[in-house]
Every structure is written in C-alpha cells, then in structure tokens.
Amino acid sequence: MTDAGESDEALMGLYARGDAAAFVVLYRRHEARIWRYLERNVRNRATADELMQEVWFAVARDADRYEPTSRFTTWLFTIARNRMIDSIRTSPQQVSLETLGYEGELVVQQLTTEPNVGPLGAVVVRDQAAALRQAIGQLPREQRDAFLLQIEGDFSVEEVATITQSSFETTKSRLRYARTKLRELLSEHA
C-alpha cells in the first residue's frame, strides 16, 4: 500500500512490482525540483520539457533495475544530468532564456499570479525571481550545474562530486565560486 510517508526507495520498490500509484507519488514529490534543475540549466522551457519527459521515462523503464545502494535522488539527478549533457552535445546551439526573453517574462507572470502573494509582494517576488534567474544564468555552466544540483537535490559536496564525476576539491571550488558570484550579482541588483 502506497503511503505518503514511504521513502523514495520503498516507492521505487513498489513501482517495480507494478504499483502505479507509487510512481505518481514519487513523481509529484520530485517534479518541481527536477524541473527547476533542468529548466534553470538549459534555460529553455521546451527543451526542459523534453528532458523532463526523457528523465521520467527512464526512471519508469529502469525501475526494476534500480538498486537502493544510494539515495533515489542521487540516481534521479544523475539521470537528469546525463540527459541534459546529451541534449547539449547533440544541439549545442540551444536557444537561451536571454535570447528569448519572453520565457523569463512568462515565468515571472506566473509568479505574479500566485494567489498567496499580494500586489506589493508580487512586485518584490517578480523582482527577486527575475534577478535570481538572471544571476543563475550568468554563472559558468559547471558552477551553475553544481549549484543547482546541490540546492535542488539537497546534496552534500561529496554527492555533487560523485554525480558530476569531479574531484571533491574541484566541486567545492565550483560551489564556492558560484555562491560568491551569485552574491555579487544579487547585491548589484539590490
């Protein structure tokens, strides 16, 4: 019986035995995080949508081969990252958020329609969100990837290093540079 309190690993086990509800719970649990990781990395909604579908298709397909030796999220984000790298390799000339512009506006519009945010709050949120997205977009790719992995996947430096197949020190530096740069960019905005 699927339960909201089941661990990710237990849900994967249930799904591997044919319990579709377990997958729905798992998907709902991680949808936003994986989406943000992909979309903020590739900075294109259509590409992020494609990747999102590929990632979750892969999770569903390989469920019976999944062994809970590491956290489910490590496995999930590794799949997401690999798919993203493949996508970048096959189509390096991706249309970015900066060149499109309106996509950022679209997200910002969505933010302002959030019912819990008042008119003044909406302006603040819109401002902050736009600034943050812009700042993240300005990070070098490796730094952005490491930062988004850590914050969206809630990973330690070691785990980020494992997923990105980099050394601990390199990962630590990337994360440090990413945060410093973000801080600078955001303070400029403020």
């Binding site: 298709f57 902050q128 969100a129």
Partner: protein, 313 residues
C-alpha cells in the same frame, strides 16, 4: 591579479534567497509532459504486474512438478511392493501348513493388499502435509520480501493454504490495481478499488452531507468542464477532457479542484481516474479542507483508500 579568492562566508544567504524565490515559483513542466510520463509509467506498471503474475504461476507449477516427495513415494511404494511380492509367497506356502486351511490365507492376502494401498497413501499424506504447512511459512517470508525493495519474487502457491492468503491478497491487490490504473489512464474504465462501494452518482446529497456542493450547470471552459465531469462521475467525458492539456488541479470559486468535487460527490471512479492522471491529492479548498478530510467526513472509505495510496495526507 587582485582577485580575491571566494569565501564561504554566509553561504546560506544566497541559498535562502534561492529557496524563497523557488517556493513561490509555480513554474512546472507542461501538462502534456506530466500526462505522458504518468501514462507511460502506468502502462509499464501494468506490464510488470502481469509479468509478475505470470512468473508466479510458472514458479508454482515448477515447484509442484519438481516436488521431491513424488519420486520418493514412488520409490518407497515400488520397494514395498517388491518386498511384498517376495515375502507373501512364503506366508502363502507356510500358512496352510501351519493351519491346514486355506480360507485364512485369503483374508491375509486381502488384508495385505489394502495395507499396501494404505501405505501407499500414508506417506503421501505427511509428505503433502509438510509441503502445505511449509508454504505458509514461505509465503510469510515472501510477504516480507514483497515489502523489501528489490527482493526476490515470491515462488509460492498462494492457493495452497489459508496461510498463504497474505501473499495472495498482496499480489491480488498489486496486480489488478496497476491494471486498473493503466485502464483508468488509458481507457478510463477501472476504479482503483472497491467499486462496489461506489456511491450513487449524480445524486445531490441533502441532509447527511450538507457540504456537498450543487453540481454546476454550465461549464465555462475546459477546466470547469473537467470539474463538472468529475462531480457528475462522467468517466467518458472526463477521459475526453483529460486527454487534452488541461490544468487538472484548476479550482472553482471556492478553491475546489476536480478531485475535491469528485470526492464530495462520492464519485470513486472519477477520483481514481483523476489520481491516475496526476491530480494533486492534497489540494485543499479555500477553507483548507483536503480531499482526504472530505472523503472521511463524507464516509467514502474507498475514496479514502485511493487518496491514501496516492500520497494524500
């Protein structure tokens, strides 16, 4: 180069800012992606469930065919019959000598034959006994293994005894459930569970459930049409609507989603379909009432069970 090496001072300020902005960011993948993913997953789950059922049946047959006691019993019987054939003539010859009458030999022979047959049956009964009593034990282990991730699949004949019922119940729950979900995703025909307990559809509940809203008259758009089909329990209509990219969790003026409305009206099948399509099981209405609370208040145990399976709190 006067570049200052990056420091780790106050790393949390950026993280906090990021998290605050993300928490308010409703950006999500498109509905089409969500549908495609969930439909694909449901299809694979149904295939897996069928495969597991198949392998279980096969392994049961194999276990029965390869039972160790069959050749053992046959061997014992053959040896007993041979011994009987060798020993019986001696008695047959000696008995008349001792007693001088033949009539007694006949009962002896007759008695021996049933004894042999009795012996033939006797070992088989205990042999069956341990086998059958062993199976519940194995089934218990397999039931444990079922709940263990990546465990071996059960190799047990759940029909063998009553003790195997948990496994049978578990597998019976898992497999049809997945099939039903695939159906409700694809063909929208099955309900998750306990369809017989389904509440009557299209009925406005007056006194007992005063919180049940009146069914809306004219849906204004696709999202409103989904809500109306859900509360009416119109499965075919719901399927048609959900195949198009519509916001499944859109709300009416009172903040009620289609799932909430289906729950309030006791539409078990509609609830199952909406959940399989990825409706948020925890989407509360404007008063903060969740679908699970509404299902409990409306005394819809089948809906409560379905909601819980999809992670409702």
């Amino acid at each position: 180069m006067n570049r200052v090496p990056p420091s780790q001072e106050q790393p949390e300020d950026v993280d906090d800012q990021y998290r605050r902005a993300s928490a308010l960011d409703p950006s999500r993948p498109s509905e089409a992606v969500r549908r495609a993913v969930l439909a694909h997953a449901a299809r694979l789950a149904a295939e897996r469930a069928t495969r597991i059922e198949g392998s279980k049946t096969k392994s049961t047959r194999t276990a029965v065919n390869q039972a160790w006691w069959r050749p053992a019993i046959l061997g014992t019987l053959a040896a007993a019959a041979l011994a009987g054939l060798m020993i019986a003539p001696r008695f047959l010859v000696e008995a008349p000598r001792a007693q001088g009458t033949r009539p007694n030999t006949a009962p002896a022979l007759v008695a021996q034959a049933p004894d042999t047959r009795a012996e033939e049956r006797a070992p088989s009964a205990p042999a069956l006994g341990p086998e059958r009593t062993a199976k519940p034990g194995a089934s218990t282990r397999n039931a444990d293994m079922l709940s263990h991730i990546g465990g071996a699949r059960p190799k047990v004949d759940a029909r063998a005894s009553g003790g195997a019922a948990p496994v049978a119940a578990e597998s019976a729950l898992v497999a049809p459930r997945a099939r039903e979900e695939a159906q409700s995703t694809g063909a929208m025909v099955g309900s998750v569970e306990a369809s017989p307990q389904r509440a009557p559809s299209n009925t406005f509940r007056g006194t007992a459930t005063t919180a049940v809203p009146r069914i809306s008259e004219a849906p204004a758009g696709p999202a409103a049409a989904v809500r109306r089909a859900a509360e009416m329990g119109d499965l075919s209509g719901l399927q048609r609507l959900l195949e198009k990219p519509t916001d499944i969790d859109s709300r009416d003026a009172a903040g009620r989603t289609a799932l909430m409305l289906a729950t309030l009206h006791g539409q078990t099948d509609a609830v199952a379909a909406l959940l399989a399509y990825g409706a948020d099981p925890n989407a509360a209405d404007a008063d903060g009432t969740t679908p699970l609370q509404a299902a409990r208040a409306g005394d819809h145990p089948a809906i409560v069970a379905a909601l819980q399976r999809y992670g409702a709190r």
